[in-house]
Symmetry: C2
Subunit: 461 residues, 2 copies
């Protein structure tokens, strides 16, 4: 397994760091930390057990740039934990070194009094950038963009751009040159490679690509990620509603967004509410609080199930053997519905299923439900027949078939309904769909058994 | 919802295309298709219902480059469906236009006789590239790389590289210049931007970055994606075990891998086996076949549940009211276990949980299980007490507590055990963990009830 390959190397580093910390071998530790890549140091820090160890290791990093890169890669709790203990002058140096989007992220995490002081003490240009970024919603294009873009007028020639690039310091990764007019309205784009291919005197306006694929500042970050992925972009420019260029988002941030959104969807589908990230550093009390809400759906479902069973008490009394097939009546519908819901939720999230496809997917799902229902119904029905009696087999088999058909219908339609109501469909799939289908399966089974019993006129004993 | 915003625009296009097809308005359709971006045409084609419509629309695309780009973005069934109907000369033109990795993908999908003929008729250099790529395992670095890299010797000067770039046609997106020795062993890397910043006479060997982060040809694509994402790379070079540079993988392919792997994990967790992709074009019979295997786990679990219930028949006869809380005894453990398993599976997949963290996560999960168990146990226990009798409340409450603790333990450890056995942990989480915990919950509940009944010496009526 490749996961193991990478994690084994990482585990070795982590063990070495813990050993050096235990021994107090600071010289060796400092040497080790300063030869590591910042992102690897960040990964290692995240896995240290307590914040004082994190602070010691972070303190050994000598270069401000390295410290800044580490902070940009740390999770919220760890980043704040080490940053607040750093001397004020160094804090300001780090903020200046960070890309504005990362600086804004960090400042947004800090306690209000500290972030206020830092913003006051930062150079005006930087603090303006940060305040500007903080004014956008967190999970939108504006919230994840960096405002440090390179833009030129249409009449600039290629040589001037190259000269500018050579003089400019180390900005964010540059791949695209944006072309704007006097009002800063985005007009076109060209890649660094395009720039090399034209003669030095060429005007940008004559060779730029237009129209440009852009993200509006208030676009949801998930949509930005999808757009960037779809058009294979390395960076996407962010514009205000009037078309003014205000920043851009690089593909490495897009990758983070995609991974986080997929994680979020998975956790939501398993009924784990995720407001903040469910990281290693979350304590057990908070973790239990995050996971309880949807488990309470199970509790309510369970109590509803108890109520259903009490309604059918006389049937169960007449034929206690019916209880034996309660588990399967509940489970099959729940699982099948969860499958359909997962296929819909993921399809809608990645865009492989569009609203226009819903009818087609629905028809297929109903067919799948019928096929699965027939297979499992016959299988379990035959088992129940031989085990006890053909009537029980018939009741079990038929109810599994009906429950399967119902399950795929709720599983397919619930995510679509939630999306229409502007509720994240990932929420609907896990606990809710499973619960509804569990209960439906149970009711169909006992209802059918009661009907058959009354038709037969004799208990299934 | 931003998803809707994008899909609404897409739905409009799709409806317009369908209308034009129905009317046979080929002139208008051709005009429309040829002004759209290839990736948008591909998306639209994927959503057309039958292959003859797909062929008509594809046939209207005039530029070979556009056709190639469309094919590179289509799913397997659609791509093969339209490609096999194209004239042979045009097929060869398309293959020559495609990047070698995409050409290899396409040829790999075609029927053996057609792919054999095409490989014979292609220029030798191209067919060698394709055959070389086809020799690597599909989901490895070698299988997704492109062999069209730009590499120079250490003594090449910056100006020669720029001149070369200006003369070379439109290769794959270029961001990095790789530096190799006489044996083609990768020595260093520099970005296009670095190249602009040095004076024309500088030797690459003097300014290149080294050592380089590389992927070995047989590395799993998921590990490649994680590596690229972790170091914020735009492309990662692929090397043989002896260090020879053989290709590179661009970030847009990495994004596709990450999305596909996340989709695959989600489907696996819901118990949908995914050998090929579960796309729109999969028929219902095949779809049912893909989903049945894990549902049969439910069936087996259900039959096992029936067996468990039969063992406790005398207990249920003595106190029929116990049946009322069978659903909740089953459901809570199953859901809680699924949450723990999802957290582990996703954590292990993204690298946020390493093997070394398992102990820490395990301890937290046990705490969470105990907290959730106490909360739900007390809640449902109190309901059962008032509903029926305090003894029932005690049985239900205590068994929910025990089942919760057991559920988090199996949920946490099953994925780790599967990973150790080199089985994809995503498999373990859904159906298997849920089934085990369903059955455990049921057994604990009825076992406890039987014990209490025998202690009390009287039925709970």
């Amino acid at each position: 397994m490749p996961t193991q390959e990478i994690s084994q190397r990482h585990a070795l580093v982590l063990r070495a760091v813990r050993r050096l910390l235990r021994r107090g071998a600071m010289r060796n530790l400092a040497k080790m930390v300063n030869t590591m890549r910042p992102v690897d140091v960040a990964k290692m820090l995240r896995h240290l057990d307590d914040v004082s160890d994190q602070r010691i290791v972070f303190g050994l990093v000598t270069r401000t740039e390295g410290r800044a890169d580490i902070l940009a890669d740390l999770d919220e709790d760890s980043a704040v934990g080490v940053f607040i203990e750093v001397a004020r002058a160094e804090q300001l140096d780090i903020l200046e070194t960070l890309d504005p989007d990362d600086a804004a992220d960090l400042i947004g995490m800090l306690p209000a009094d500290l972030s206020g002081e830092l913003l006051e003490q930062m150079p005006d240009a930087d603090s303006d950038d940060v305040v500007g970024l903080l004014s956008y919603e967190e999970e939108t294009a504006g919230g994840i963009m960096t405002p440090d873009f390179l833009a030129f007028r249409e009449d600039t020639d290629a040589q001037s751009v190259i000269t500018h690039l050579q003089q400019a310091g180390d900005a964010e990764m540059v791949f695209y040159i944006y072309v704007v007019d006097e009002q800063n309205i985005l007009k076109g784009v060209m890649s660094l490679r395009d720039l090399l291919l034209v003669s030095p005197k060429t005007r940008l306006g004559d060779v730029m690509h237009s129209p440009v694929i852009t993200a509006q500042v208030d676009m949801d970050q998930e949509a930005v990620a999808r757009l960037t992925a779809r058009y294979n972009l390395l960076a996407i420019p962010v514009v205000e509603h009037d078309g003014r260029l205000v920043g851009f988002i690089t593909v490495d941030d897009v990758i983070d967004v995609m991974r986080d959104e997929a994680t979020e969807d998975m956790l939501k589908m398993s009924g784990t509410t995720v407001e903040s990230e469910y990281t290693l550093s979350v304590g057990s009390l908070k973790a239990a609080g995050m996971r309880l809400p949807w488990l309470l759906v199970n509790v309510i479902g369970g109590i509803a199930g108890a109520w259903v069973l009490v309604q059918f008490a006389s049937t169960l009394e007449a034929a206690l053997v019916l209880t034996a097939f309660i588990p399967i009546s509940m489970a099959l519908g729940g699982s099948l519905g969860l499958q359909s819901a997962t296929i819909m939720v993921r399809g809608l999230a990645t865009g492989s299923i569009e609203m226009d496809d819903v009818r087609r997917v629905f028809i297929r799902e109903v067919r799948v439900g019928a096929l699965v229902g027939v297979t499992c119904g016959v299988l379990v029905g035959v088992v129940a027949s031989f085990w006890h009696d053909p009537w029980l087999g018939l009741v079990v088999g038929v109810s599994l078939f009906i429950a399967s058909c119902v399950a795929v219908i709720t599983g397919t339609l619930a995510p679509v309904a939630f999306l229409r109501l502007c509720i994240d469909p990932a929420i609907s799939s896990g606990p809710l769909v499973t619960m509804v289908n569990d209960l439906t399966g149970l009711t169909i089974y006992l209802g059918l058994a009661t009907t058959m019993l009354s038709l037969q006129g004799a208990p299934l004993t």
